[in-house]
């Protein structure tokens, strides 16, 4: 949020401008995540935040995140660290008394954040992960580590890599689906839609 100063020097984000509330973001989330990302039923009870294993690290608690989505606070939501601290453990989703699925809501918001150009390590990791799967259909972990962390990661993880290789768990040949080209093209096309 832009910290504009108003007449009396009060920063605007210190108060809620109710007139800016709109349903655009929640509609966007619904379009991205489907019915499972519906949040209208939320009654702000906070069961989700209460059970969240990472709540104490979040700038927006899951409950607040849902509220901000409802009110159309794009910037607050998309810039929130909450998106990247969610470990998709589904504790909130399995407890919500109104059937809201914060895990699915956050998943949809993450996708919107990535599309809107939010950049951070988590985004980069997730994007590389998906790119690699799109490429061959099956994940090849050394490639993921190299692409994400560069040579440094390979060096840092060298010991683990060697151990895994010795145990016969790391093949030098990346596995792939039968028709990677077709597989890849179909997914790329879907993203472009």
């Amino acid at each position: 949020m832009v910290k504009k100063k108003c007449f009396f020097g009060i920063k605007t984000d210190r108060q809620v401008d109710g007139d800016k509330m709109n349903a655009k973001l929640s509609q966007e989330v619904l379009a991205q995540g489907g019915e499972n990302a519906a949040i209208n039923a939320c009654m702000q009870c906070g069961t989700c935040s209460g059970g969240c294993p990472n709540a104490e690290r979040m700038d927006l608690l899951p409950r607040s995140l849902v509220l901000m989505v409802q009110r159309g606070e794009w910037e607050k939501v998309l810039k929130s660290q909450t998106l990247w601290l969610c470990s998709s453990c589904h504790t909130c989703t399995s407890r919500c008394p109104r059937g809201v699925r914060p895990t699915d809501v956050i998943e949809a918001v993450k996708a919107i954040a990535i599309r809107e150009g939010i950049k951070n390590d988590s985004v980069r990791f997730n994007q590389i992960f998906v790119e690699l799967i799109e490429k061959r259909g099956i994940l090849f972990e050394p490639e993921l580590m190299l692409k994400y962390g560069g040579l440094k990661a390979l060096v840092d993880q060298a010991e683990l890599g060697i151990k895994l290789t010795l145990k016969g768990k790391l093949s030098p040949f990346p596995p792939k689906v039968k028709e990677p080209k077709k597989f890849s093209e179909a997914l790329t096309k879907a993203v472009k839609k």
Partner: protein
Amino acid sequence: MKYSYYPGCSLHSSAKEFDISTKVVMKELEIELEELQDWSCCGGSIAGGVDHNIGMALAARNVVLAQNQNQDLLAACSGCYNKSAKAAQALENEQERAKITSILTDMGMSVSNQKIKVRNVVDVLVNDLDIAPKIKKPLTGLKVACYYGCLLTRPADITGWDSPVFPMSLDKLAQKCGAEVVDFRSKTKCCGGPILVPQEEVAFEMTKKLLDEAKSLGADCIILACPLCSNNLELRQPDIEKKYNVNYNLPILYITELIGLALGIKPRKLGLDKHLVSTKPVLAKVS
């Protein structure tokens, strides 16, 4: 009973022993597994957060492959199981089905109306089979902490065969194997798996809590069914030990390895030698 067996990415790499032990144990229990032809990654907890439709299509692809083979899909990995079950549910939803079908059609696949079930190895082991009569070598004296993590039993409207809060399936299986089960309160607390790489510090802290509790309960090992959890708990155990200056040396075993031992199968045949945290203390206790 014959299943389309879906190993997923991890079981062919870092969780090879889960793959090996699942196949051996299921054979011993007369369950036929036919590896799902041309399976692909389920997208895990990550793909959907980049694009919902990509995530759904990735997971649904394996379900559709199994549908086309007219066999129930059996996944060992909790993540693969959860995402496949979610995709199977999505295929029942008109809106989602249309989006998935469009992508899979582009891959040259046909989406049928064949109804199949998506099952997890633990579900089958505990609910369909009775392993008790087949136990040849009870694991008397072995203390285990059963860890379920998130995706095996949550959310219940996707899984549904055990409690999302206090599940007992693994505990029951371990007990049937003759092991002593400790009262592991954190059995469904998240290990931080999906955020391990970009949020390493946070994930380490989450995993540490689990190791701490298991250790304080005097468990000889942790039993689980998720390669991602194992990645945190076992492969990164030395890193956590180093970071917090603690010493766990706690073996992490897949449930199928534990059952295999109780069925009298040789440890090497179950892949117990493939662990990075040595399983020797466990073997010493049960032999």
